[in-house]
């Protein structure tokens, strides 16, 4: 079993839809959770960051972490064609020391149709 599993894609939705992207993980030591967006032929860019459990909102984006279920989600409201990209979840046990590496999910490709 991989440490981080991400829902398989691709995902295609109409403009304006609410999108739900999910990841599960097996390592209970993970404390820091991130969502990255990667456009074609570009490096990933950080979208959302959450420490431990809880919700975080930033504009049209909401990140949720449920550590008891080892489950994280990213919600995108009022999706736009410009949101079309690959979304990667990433997590880490620590931000310092030998355990500070990010472990990424496989990524899911989202397409928002105009």
């Amino acid at each position: 079993q991989k440490e981080v599993e991400q829902d398989p894609g691709p995902l295609s939705v109409p403009e304006g839809a609410i999108v739900s992207l999910n990841c599960t993980y097996s390592n209970s030591a993970f404390q820091y959770f991130m969502w990255y967006r990667q456009y074609s032929r570009k490096g990933p860019e950080l979208l959302m960051y959450t420490y431990s459990s809880g919700n975080k909102e930033d504009g049209r984006f909401t990140a949720q972490v449920d550590k008891s279920s080892k489950y994280i989600s990213l919600f995108i409201r009022d999706s736009q064609p410009s949101d079309s990209a690959t979304y990667l979840c990433a997590m880490s046990p620590s931000l310092t020391g030998a355990n500070s590496k990010l472990t990424f999910g496989k990524g899911i490709t989202l397409s928002v149709r105009p």
Binding site: Y36, P44, G97, K101
Partner: protein
């Protein structure tokens, strides 16, 4: 301000050859991490350097090595290239080792034939 820069953009090498990839972090950033992203997969951690010292290493063979220079730029070296080394190699910089904000460069696409 310039973001993370990587060179070269693309590279084609033959099995058994050696390759050096370069990364310049954002000005003021002291930590550099390297990741390998195989097509259709998420990035996999290779190394982290902070203040010119290796602070973390992923599950990669000894053919992979890296270093960080006094100006905080970094090089990733891969010896005895295999077909399976074909991937996008990403460099990410952050202000300090404990920063959650890692900024990724556009990557170097390495093709091994």
């Amino acid at each position: 301000d310039a973001g993370v820069t990587q060179s070269p953009t693309h590279l084609i090498k033959t099995r058994g050859q050696q390759v050096t990839l370069r990364c310049s972090p954002i000005s003021g950033h002291k930590s550099v991490s390297w990741y390998q992203q195989v097509l259709g997969q998420g990035p996999q951690f290779i190394f982290q350097y902070y203040e010119k010292e290796e602070r973390g290493r992923g599950n990669f063979p000894d053919r992979f090595s890296a270093r960080q220079f006094p100006n905080y730029s970094s090089e990733l070296n891969v010896n005895a290239l295999l077909l399976g080394d074909s991937a996008l190699y990403l460099c990410a910089s952050s202000f300090a080792q404990g920063s959650y904000e890692q900024y990724f460069g556009p990557g170097t696409r390495l093709t091994v034939t």
